[in-house]
Symmetry: C2
Subunit: 205 residues, 2 copies
Amino acid sequence: MSHPPSPAGPPPSVSPSSVGPGQAPVLRIDARRNLERVKEEAERLFSERGSDVSIAEIAAAAGVGKATVYRSFPTKEDLLEAVALRRHGWFEERLTQALAEPVAWAAFERILLDLATRLERDRTLGEVLRAARGRPALQERKAASLATLQALLDRAIAEGAMRPGTSANDVSLMVSGCSMALTQDGGTAGDWRRLIGYVIDAFRA
Amino acid sequence: MSHPPSPAGPPPSVSPSSVGPGQAPVLRIDARRNLERVKEEAERLFSERGSDVSIAEIAAAAGVGKATVYRSFPTKEDLLEAVALRRHGWFEERLTQALAEPVAWAAFERILLDLATRLERDRTLGEVLRAARGRPALQERKAASLATLQALLDRAIAEGAMRPGTSANDVSLMVSGCSMALTQDGGTAGDWRRLIGYVIDAFRA
DNA sequence: GGGGAAACGGACCGGCCGGTCCGCATCCTA
DNA sequence: TAGGATGCGGACCGGCCGGTCCGTTTCCCC
């Protein structure tokens, strides 16, 4: 949605008509429809079952052949990154919204609870919070998000509600740790709520 | 070390000589030496790099062929379980020792810090704390350990130092969560120490 | 030391998965 | 509508890994 004209992957050299300075691949309408289906299914399957879903399965779910997937995304990692970036977009929005709240500590609590709710059914989001699989684009945006989060934490510390010295990186580690443990363990919604509560308490002043 | 006569795996039907009611495979001395090497290397490699080390690599490190590994351990999971059980033995010992301490809360703090130190360089131990990969033997012993840990926690709660209602399962989830996050992230010793400190604080009264 | 049991290990199998190729179908434009 | 560009997808490749087989070596006991 964020890149309407250019879908993803390397554009096919130059397009025959309308060759301006900025190249626009101009996909055929069937290609565009297929790409959309692939993105949808990749998002669904990766979120449900994590990054070890095979490309063949995603292609089958989208009703296309593997090659069609690989035409838009040179490697499986690229597809995963595309999905992850969308998830990251959600997180950034949520973070911005939190920054606008008057009481930083309350915003912190709420964003962690929201995160838990999303993480429970979205394994892709969890992978976004982690090392980002060595993809520079993701790492960069993760670093930016952590900086934003740090600003929120600093405000909460200034309020006297949060433990001084709390770092955004530590919060991220704790949350993604709980996420991994519960994902692997098949935790219930109550488990998620409780563990995130512990994390919140750990960072209380 | 805990099973000197019977090494592991299924005993070869019946031994030709000395066929008592309790069967003792009576390994040839080269076989016994190889088995020992395999166990050592499996322990080392699994601990260093986790369960995705291939059997071929372990066999090569031990200076034997793959078939030699599979003769003692019918599947890779069995080998992993053997290593995990040893790790679990360490944990049980440590737990018993903690129960003997006079102040339960102090024992809790110490055991978590010890755990962090071990988890930092031993990925097998982390897998022990988790669902135990569906192996009944491991799950059973894990359940027993959690019961013991719960006894310690209850004492700490009675002391008034620990948050009432704290469950051994939640503690296990938090610790193994941090373990996963830091293992994946390549955290330093300081990171481990700090995160475990957060976990400890989370369970403080 | 010799014969038979026990163990060894390299070759092999089957399955999976990421990624590529190329003959063919589809679509767009003139 | 015709012809060429564009996209499609099933077959294929190479590599990895868990697990098995069987001819050969090693050991043990008489």
